[in-house]
């Protein structure tokens, strides 16, 4: 043996293996283990799917009661034909896992504040936030409730869970989803609790904005003082076209919420005009303000066929893998098609043999903060109605990769968990002790609503199904083959007094408590109206004659609803193509109001040559936010700049970001042509700026920006907006960037930078249902599959797929079944 060469060669070999077996730091992130990642038998190469892959398979599972046939069509949409319901949900779980497991695992990790466990300390703030907000607490409440009171749902979720885990059991390590290899961690077994955590994430996404907005609004009011605040953040929406038409009479309320006596001074702080003391901290993350949606149904009286058409397009963050997974589920009890959530059983938005349904977000305020007074730093007692009241301690352990564990001690109070305190603070909470109360914490059988909608045969079934729905509040639209259309805003809604919960409420006084939930029968509702359509687009559901307060107007976008209703009102002989055109319409009804308002104040005589050119660009525009339009960009930047000129000075002195007033406030003021005092730049002493001066100043500033864009060749709307569908890790290389698509805020085609119609569906309720749809993604979650992003181009172009909703025999007869996955009982 040659000792020296042996030793050096051993060292070189082992050294290289070790180097290739650890994650190397690249800046702030870490590389995958390169040897593993690049190994053609272990690493990412195994995820490079054959472009002509064969998805045929035969699976034997002991959990099945019968056999299940799954046919995949050419878009990789599975059509499940099962002998019984539980087997169908088992297979649904299996397929979700097969095509989307990493995403399911990742999203529930995020929801339960467990990202740091695999990603390290960079996600610790978001993990702590979710723990303290009570995400795990809420999921536990639901799990406990369903296990004790709802055997049918328990069986459903259990079957789904078993299906997910059956997939994991037969998954070979070489075939782990790509992201596990990239980020270097291992999958975990699915549990029913994870399904409930996923639904908590949806509740957060659709109602959780208040977890930041309430604090921001409180700070904004404290900064400006109540009077100026009321002017800039008025809840008055003059042009509102509510979901339930104005003038509809409401029954007298069963709860009459009374305003606490101390509200003016202790809560609204009407006398305060002092700026608050500000502290530093990280900018908090919150769900997107534009989370919303459109849905509508037109009755046979307005359609060419004489049958209803139902449309639904939920606007959410645009992600890859998509939130949605398309499928058909057919069992002896029902046959349903639509978009499902990987992570949850049943179809969420879709249709069956008899009815179709869709949802939009209600936007109602169901999350409030109460400021606590603790006796001391131990947080063991807090003051409530003059009595020191004990808290209970809830501990949450956060494991952190490459770092010590973190323990969150959360003081549980009468109001709910103490989310913010001196241990967990940011620039908006400012170290205040704030307990959060949220309907998301309450046990909920949300799964059951979808389970029952999947099986609903008529209007009564629909109403019974949605009556169970609690959080997040939704507008459920409905249409049936028998010709009924309806819409109902449903959820657990707090019976609020005016402005209750918009700001942080005093937590020492129970008179600020929620005084009850509005009974389901009093929720906004409409069926088969004479006008022949029902619709919603996240606007306020009702006018001011409704006996309960809904929440700040900022939660209710105004213009999309006006757009939809205006079009539906005048349309007759409606076809599916008309509905698709409306769903993808780029018409900017806000600009239709705002441009003339701007022009009232724009004075070409005092503008520079370039500014005049840009104003012309804006004025020659046809109000369509089309991808290739330059006028859209000119309008958008001029408007933003004018808003900045008018509001900027009022908000500029604050060291923390304050809420910007809603666009309609300025438009309404400009149109009224009143002597608008807020226009004055309060920073210039001894000079009073008029609205006209501020508008023209704004135009000049906008021109500078527009000229820069012109130089970069980014003046076209789609180039400026640069819509992208982002991978959940935000890795651009796994995303689709710079899509050629128009639309925007206030537009029916609500596509902004990273947000928009996440599933477009049009269902014509003819004898044999005629449905169209697609989502910006693809059926496979694997970035190495051609099916990863296969719908995106068609989605961007505003086109649709015909959805194949057929009984087994017909599917086979028409040769739509490209692949066959057979599930056999053991």
């Amino acid at each position: 043996m040659r000792i020296l060469p042996f030793i050096s060669s051993t060292l070189a070999t082992v050294g290289l293996v070790v180097l290739l077996n650890i994650q190397l730091p690249i800046g702030a992130i870490k590389s995958p283990r390169l040897g593993y990642f690049l190994s053609p038998q272990h690493g990412f190469w195994k995820n490079a799917e054959k472009v002509n892959a064969n998805f045929d398979a035969s699976i034997v599972a002991g959990e099945l009661k019968g056999n299940v046939d799954v046919y995949m069509d050419e878009r990789l949409v599975p059509h499940i034909y099962a002998d019984n319901d539980q087997d169908a949900y088992f297979v649904q779980g299996f397929l979700h896992a097969k095509f989307r497991f990493w995403q399911m695992d990742f999203q529930t990790r995020a929801a339960s504040g467990r990202l740091s466990e695999v990603l390290g300390s960079k996600t610790l703030v978001s993990d702590r936030k979710f723990r303290r907000l009570g995400m795990v607490y809420g999921a536990e409440e639901t799990e406990k409730y369903i296990n004790e009171h709802n055997p049918e749902m328990k069986a459903t979720v259990d079957a789904y869970t078993a299906g997910v885990n059956a997939y994991l059991k037969q998954l070979s390590p070489a075939d782990l989803p790509f992201e596990y290899k990239l980020l270097n961690y291992e999958p975990e077994q699915w549990t029913p609790k994870k399904t409930y955590l996923f639904l908590m994430l949806m509740s957060y996404d659709l109602t959780g904005r208040a977890s930041v907005a309430d604090l921001q609004l409180t700070n904004t009011r404290d900064y400006l003082g109540y009077d100026l605040f009321e002017k800039m953040y008025t809840n008055q929406q003059d042009s509102l076209d509510p979901i339930i038409p104005k003038g509809t009479a409401f029954a007298s309320p069963s709860i009459k919420p009374f305003t606490p006596i101390s509200a003016d001074s202790a809560y609204l702080k009407k006398n305060n005009s002092n700026a608050a003391t500000l502290v530093d901290g990280a900018t908090p993350e919150a769900p997107d303000k534009n989370n919303g949606s459109n849905n509508w149904a037109v009755s046979g009286s307005k359609t060419k066929s004489g049958r209803p058409i139902l449309c639904s397009d939920p606007h959410l963050g645009l992600n890859l893998p998509s939130l949605w997974y398309e499928m058909q589920i057919t069992t002896p009890t029902h046959s349903t098609y639509g978009a499902s959530f990987p992570g949850s059983p049943a179809v969420i938005i879709g249709f069956n043999d008899n009815i179709a349904w869709g949802v939009t977000n209600a936007g109602r305020d169901v999350l409030d903060f109460y400021e606590l007074k603790f006796k001391d730093n131990t947080q063991k007692e807090y003051l409530l109605n003059g009595t020191w009241t004990p808290t209970t301690n809830r501990q949450e352990l956060i494991k952190v990769k490459d770092s010590a564990d973190v323990v969150e001690n959360i003081a549980m109070t009468y109001w709910g968990p103490t989310m913010y305190d001196s241990h967990f603070k940011d620039e908006q909470s400012k170290g205040r002790n704030l307990a959060v109360r949220w309907t998301g914490h309450n046990a909920s059988t949300g799964v059951e609503t979808f389970y029952k909608l999947n099986r609903a045969k008529n209007f009564d079934d629909y109403l019974a199904a949605i009556s169970l729905w609690k959080c997040p509040g939704q507008n459920f639209v409905f249409a049936s083959k028998t010709g009924d259309i309806a819409i109902k805003q449903q959820g657990s809604f707090v019976a609020r007094w005016n402005r209750q919960g918009d700001f942080i409420m005093p937590g020492i006084d129970k008179s600020y408590d929620w005084q009850g939930f509005i009974p389901n029968e009093e929720n906004p509702f409409m069926m088969n109206p004479a006008r022949g359509f029902v619709s919603s687009a996240n606007q306020k559901a009702v006018d001011s004659t409704y006996p309960y307060y809904l929440g700040t107007a900022a939660s209710f976008p105004l213009y999309r609803g006006i757009s939809v209703n205006k079009r539906l009102d005048t349309m007759t002989n409606i076809t599916v193509a008309n509905m698709q055109a409306l769903q993808t319409s780029n018409y900017n009804v806000f600009a239709e109001v705002a441009r003339p308002a701007l022009n009232k104040f724009i004075d070409p005589n005092i503008l520079s040559t370039n500014a005049k050119r840009m104003v012309r660009e804006m004025n020659n525009w046809d109000f369509n936010n089309n991808g290739n339009s330059k006028g859209t960009t000119a309008f958008k930047i001029i408007w933003d700049s004018v808003e900045q000129a008018v509001w900027g000075d009022e908000l500029a002195g604050s060291s923390i970001p304050l809420t910007k007033p809603e666009a309609y406030v300025l438009v309404d003021q400009m149109n009224k042509d009143s002597n608008f005092s807020v226009a004055d730049d309060i920073r210039t002493k001894g000079k009073v700026e008029t609205l006209k001066e501020q508008v023209n100043l704004g135009v000049e500033k906008a021109t500078k920006k527009l000229m820069e864009l012109e130089k970069e060749n980014k003046l076209e709307w789609s180039k400026y907006k640069a819509t992208r569908v982002l991978h959940l890790t935000k890795t651009p290389e796994l995303s689709r960037m710079d899509l050629p698509i128009g639309g925007g805020v206030n537009i029916v085609n609500a596509t902004t930078e990273n947000h928009g119609p996440s599933w477009r569906m049009v269902v014509h309720l003819t004898d044999e249902i005629e449905a169209y749809g697609l989502y910006p993604g693809g059926q496979s979650g694997n970035p190495g599959s051609p099916y990863y992003d296969s719908f995106i181009d068609k989605w961007a172009a505003g086109e649709y797929y015909r959805l194949l909703f057929l009984p087994k025999a017909k599917l086979l007869e028409n040769k739509f079944a490209k692949w066959h996955i057979q599930f056999k009982k053991a």
Binding site: T13, V17, E49, K50, F178, P783
Partner: protein, 124 residues
């Protein structure tokens, strides 16, 4: 002394065995990705060659196996994933570089593990 032809045949045989063994221990990814390292080490003890020949057998055995597998996979995938990964690694989507790097890693580790084994026993 062995004839050149015998040496040549032995070299080819070990190279093929190395590739085969590497493939076998990598199947389904059940064993750690570096399992071919001890496997080639043992192979090179079992069938002794001169150190530089041992290196080359292991290097070619593993390297070419990895290259062949990678090229085949990448071809059938139309470079979809390799282009994305090459972009993540700031290689501007140049999947050929990624394939080359994969080959080099296999080549080096296969070579080094066989070289190490070759120092244990002397060729008779």
């Amino acid at each position: 002394m062995k004839s050149n032809k015998q040496v040549y045949i032995k070299f080819i045989t070990v190279t093929l065995l190395s590739a085969l063994l590497t493939y076998a221990v990598g199947i389904y990814g059940k064993l750690p990705w570096w399992s071919f390292v001890p496997a080639n080490f043992l192979l090179s003890i079992a069938i002794v060659q001169k150190p530089w020949r041992a290196f080359l057998s292991g290097a070619m055995g593993v390297g070419l196996l990895w290259l062949a597998l990678t090229l085949m996979i990448d071809q059938q995938n139309n470079h979809i994933l390799s282009t994305k990964v090459a972009s993540i690694f700031k290689l501007k989507g140049a999947y050929n570089i990624l394939i080359t790097v994969t080959f080099i890693i296999g080549f080096l580790l296969g070579g080094l593990s066989s070289l190490t084994g070759s120092f244990i026993r002397k060729e008779k």
